[in-house]
Assembly symmetry: D2
Homo-oligomer: 447 residues x 4
């Protein structure tokens, strides 16, 4: 798996992530391959496939080897995979008597895929930890704003009053499902890979199946039949990353819209400046979330493509997987980091939310007014009455929808009770509660 340096010096703070970049680094890959070779030797020694002493001796010797990535470059370029040259380089640093027992019976893909899985395990951990932190933070924000009124907008139009806490709960709800998906994927993804040259375990003798299982145990991985050509696990993992990134992109798109000058319901501390316009506060973190999500949405297909993997091993499909996975992982890491930044810097302007509601001059109370009227007259009549009142407000003939309705002779209704927009939002509060309870159950209490 090749690394992606969205962590250049210049762009890394915006679009990269140091922790995820480290997990994808040459050094991490080499270390993971060596760890796989050590575990293989240990498991083989225990089962008598290689001499009993060779296992621990190899494992000990491999503790001290030093491999420079650059030294593997030419071999990798020639072989299309790092393992042959790595094995040669490791053997060069081993005592002669141990050399034969290194990589005994394994194929390059065994080691390469084990190294992949070992690193994906760390990636999963990092994704989970950041997701949990984000869930906690959003749960706290939703709770804080459980009673904050604001404008719901549908299809670009002011629609009706809602609670800001419900909007936040809607950011939260897919993250909770992603958290559950992580749990389902983990045992399916983090499994052993050992098949030997043709995926038949032919070099390992009668203990082959036991070896496969012992290697799994040694590395803390699940048991599995060799999956050299069956790459659905990687697809599934990539798909989850794209889903997480898309959810963060959905949040980012909302944040961009809320930060827009005409809406201005949020700001970010330390928001981006302009080189010429001193009044501007660009919602850079929100933009980045959208950009990374759209980018990730175009990456994931390459992993599905790579799963079209003919024969016992296809070099083109396999190499494609190496190309496709790192950008997706990096984008996810960067998005999770930036989402954390965004909510750290977020300032919510509840007064502006109120003002934006009021600026609709009651038009967003149209649905509530309809239902209030429908208690007193046929629904069609109620709807017609509201349509007339809406028209009066739109044309400027009435200052506010409730005034227009009151003037229309519906004095029996307590129109003033509707004015602040809170009528009917009790269920919205219960929806927030439902989401918060799920978050609580999943990751513990909000701070």
């Amino acid at each position: 798996m090749a690394a992606l340096a969205l962590d250049t010096s210049l762009y890394g703070g915006l679009l990269g992530d140091a922790e995820f970049a480290a997990l994808l680094s040459d050094a991490a890959e080499i270390a993971a391959m060596i760890r796989a070779e050590k575990a293989l030797a240990r498991a083989q020694a225990r089962l008598g496939i290689i001499p009993g002493a060779a296992g621990e001796a190899l494992a000990a010797a491999l503790e001290t080897v030093v491999i420079d990535p650059a030294a593997l470059r030419a071999g990798l370029t020639r072989d299309g995979v790092a393992v042959p040259q790595l094995v040669a380089a490791l053997r060069g640093q081993l005592p002669p008597e141990l050399r034969p027992w290194l990589h005994w019976g394994a194929t390059s893909q065994d080691i390469s895929d084990l190294a992949l899985v070992l690193r994906l395990s760390l990636v999963l951990d990092a994704v989970e930890a950041r997701l949990d932190a984000l869930i906690r933070r959003l749960a706290g924000l939703a709770d804080t704003h459980r009673a904050t009124l604001c404008l719901a907008r549908t299809r670009t139009q002011a629609a009706a009053p809602t609670l800001f806490g419900l909007r936040v709960a809607n950011w939260l709800q897919p993250l909770l499902r992603h958290r559950a998906r992580l749990g389902e994927i983990r045992p399916r993804l983090l499994v052993v890979q050992l098949g030997g040259a043709a995926g038949t375990l032919a070099a390992f003798g009668p203990q082959a199946i036991a070896l496969m299982d012992a290697l799994a145990d040694e590395l803390g991985l699940g048991r599995a039949v060799p999956w050299h050509k069956a790459r659905d696990r990687i697809e599934e993992f990539g798909g989850l990353l794209a889903m997480i990134t898309a959810s963060l992109g959905m949040i980012g798109a909302d944040l961009m819209q809320l930060a827009q000058s005409e809406v201005a319901e949020i700001t970010f501390d330390g928001a981006g400046g302009s080189s010429t316009l001193p009044q501007k506060q660009n919602p850079v973190v929100a933009e980045v979330l959208v950009a990374l999500a759209r980018f990730a949405a175009h990456q994931v297909g390459a992993l599905h493509q790579a799963a079209i993997h003919p024969t016992e091993r296809d070099g083109a499909a396999w190499t494609l997987e190496w190309l496709a996975l790192p950008p997706l992982i990096q984008a996810t890491g960067a998005a999770l980091r930036q989402a954390g930044e965004a909510f750290g810097d977020l300032r919510v302007d509840t007064a502006r939310m109120r003002a934006n509601l009021d600026a609709t001059r009651g038009l967003v109370l149209a649905e509530a007014a309809s239902f209030a009227l429908a208690a007193a007259m046929p629904r069609a009549d109620a709807a017609a009455r509201v349509r007339e009142a809406v028209a009066a407000v739109v044309s400027g003939a009435a200052p506010h929808l409730l005034d227009a309705l009151a003037a229309a002779g519906d004095a029996s209704i307590d129109w003033e009770a509707l004015r602040d927009g809170r009528v009917g939002l009790e269920p919205a509060d219960l929806l927030i509660a439902r989401v918060l309870a799920e978050a609580e159950a999943m990751v513990g209490a909000a701070p």
Copy 2:
């Protein structure tokens, strides 16, 4: 959700599927929307949100309505969603006293998403049924060929002997995981959608949450908070379809390779003819599996894109979902159907498999020979001895690897025991058994 007619008269047999096309048809969508409206009325009546008698009366009246899709076209074009015009059309066919209670408090997206979920439930059923049938068929094929020797090929090169049954088990193993994933996705996907205009349930009064849950029960769906803007369920479903299609594409790519003139280990009864070349037998079903998989891999990203859904409802994101989902569903249906056809028509030529093994003149026994020699000498020496023998065969100096090795003085080894290629394949048989046991546990015995 708009339909895709890969079911044109001309191409439907190759690239479409009648059953899946029917699930995506205008008629199916209208029927599902009406079903959602009926269930809503019933649930509301039961909870007293609308008059108690109106529920059954509406449900009964809606049994007999007839809606021509063409009659909704202009309204849908204007409104960007079918529901407003459908509700108007339905009201036109209802007794006046029932009209107000239809669609009471719901928003278009509630009905549209419910209709989507109700149809996806049927799509899931159909996918599952076809997947099960395919699993059973492949399990049978793997079992039949548990002892059939053939050539494993890695990175385009003849690698080592394997069992054809193991290759089939490798086709099978991702399908088993997809089957498990279907089970996990089902309760997450098939959930109620009811939020009202702004996702707050504001029109439904104190019984709102109870209504939401009652509607779920009425339709046999899971309970959920409104997910108007949280589209991860749809992404996840699309991702699974792309994974299934990619696995079938992997199988198709193998079948293409096995059908290739130079390999010729399989044929298909009734394979495609050429307009000018009478000797040709084109593996059309296999090609179609690959084409559909690569196509699906490019579709799924659009669903991730559509999940970047700002505000309480975004018309662009929502419409994108309608565009993106049907091609993916259709491609999956067609691929599952064609995979069934492929295995129905498959003829396996075990003699040719044997001949292809023999044609390598023992080169694919190189690994087995190395391990045999390594029992008698240091591994490095063994490897060198085999390399020399390989060179002798490649240069034409020796007719067969085992002859070259025997001639090199390793008479102590029973080289003839290696000749048929079966040595070392006992674990491969156990791998097949492991996969078959899983298949058995999942979908029942192979035929």
Copy 3:
């Protein structure tokens, strides 16, 4: 090439296009294949490759044949291409003596690709005509609003005054380049395909090259060497469609933003209604442009994928092309149609544009004020002065930026001259003029 029915009865008005759907229909494909066979017969007769009389006789006989797409379905499903069954069906309707000369020496792909190119020629014409109409309409709109002041928005923030005519010119400028690209692609795309079974022209004898060129002439296509496996022309065409659709999506995204309740600078006559919110005016046409563009962006990659076409003909790559091209063509047709609708229904609210400018309380004049001050003091001082004034406005201490600046003692500057926002926009007018002159040169005068 398989068709896509976004033209279902229900969704066709929103997401489809009748003209483009007809170009992609089964009937159109069959007619184009027959046209290719006629032209081949004529060219072959003229060159003596088939009997001289057979050419016109075949061409005449093929005028009257009737082919039901459904009758070709089974054959296409078996053969993976329509031509063998079509040729058989045509022969069945020909006098026996003519039958041998039909399809003489051609391969299925020759006829299939010719039929594709003949239809793409009509698609190109339709795209060009609609693009020209849209260019004319936008040129008119830009001209109408050459002096209309409005707010430029960058990174979601109110930035500075601009001219609405310049915004329209920015919608126009990529369309002008697409028009030029269409001209460059046309001769590259609309070329003959004739190679015979293996692309060698082997069945045609010494006149083969002359035949290839004569067939091109007969069909009004450019000359070319056989391109059975060299599919870059199709990629390029698809790329242009995706570019056109993306430009329309860019326009649609702007229109959505301008229609947003908080901005409200445009409306559409007959905009979409809501099933529950009478006050809403959803910008459906704009949303559709964005959705189609994002959809198309995910389709085009499948055409690049299909160009990875191994051997003399690859059934998987070829079939993928059939799957990938129609959705892209349909999306482009629908987007061009809907863009036309959008501008037909567009109402521009110049008073609201003015009001939105004024609502920034002069903050968007910050850059202009800086430059005005910089004429009288060092730039850094000027920038600092403006930053202070901005802060005064943002904090509410000053009602308007120009008031804050005037109060700061810069009385020597004629601040009132800046107030309406028009200062400095002369070059913007010239930019509009430059774009309009280009449009004029390309498609004739604006209405």
Copy 4:
């Protein structure tokens, strides 16, 4: 534009390219931005927009500035674009009196896009140079093998004899068209970007248009109206890269197929080894070409997506472009480099080509036999006769198609003349000549 390090130490030789990586490096971006600022100062001084002396003084001072990418990182992260911090850093290294005149009136995007275009100019040069070298090499190869007989394969099946030179010409023909496309794109892509904060040139006064044109001239770029939000040029460029990479992937897929053990018509010197199978020769360069092409096919859509760019500047769309472009450029560079390697290492085994033809036992002469017979009998009879002979060969009743046909009593035909497969291939030679003439005209003589 952020860089992509497929040039890690480990993977760079396989999947990266040092020259292209350098063009995308932080250092290259900073240098190009400084170059843009210098040119702006010079052009402004010449037109009197800034003091006459400031232009050259600034340009001279900027020659010696040193900017560490890491020093811009925090600013870029905050601002979402490198320019504000770069301008601040540059000002810090300038004499105080020059500071105000740096970046006078420009917006960050002006400088950022100019730096992009300046680097894309170098990318275009590098692509063109490598494409030309590849064209020359392939032209030489086609010429060398103008008479080399080999098997054409269609839909996985042995089809008919062809010339290896024609296969190479088919690799060549799309490259020639790409070369022409490069020429068309160059003047459209390499144009000036100068618009100021809102794209109106408002800060530049009456000389604004002249400045825009002068800046173009200063940098050797074409003139253009500001295209901040009109990103079709970038889409088009990305599309061409994807097309080039797909064509190389098509070649790679052919090379993989030809290197396959069962075909073995080519080998690569120094081909990849296996860690366990000494007999293997993996066609690594060919696999890489396919992997990069499939990867690139998934990248290009993100650029179309990024062109959906609302308002005068959208941070999400713009950032997406930065993410999407580098992987595409890197993949193209790596593919062009690896294609060069592939053909440097290629060994063509003409004897094996002959043997593969012969191994079909005349079946691939079926079409030629049909046409030979059709000269003596009705075509339908000829076809039937050949079908019978094919069946005889397939069943083993006849050793060779020509023997079967001769035995069937068609002694009047000189069947032996057909046996070597060369009959009818004269036009194929002329097709090669046509392609070579085009290559000659485009890039000069083959070596």
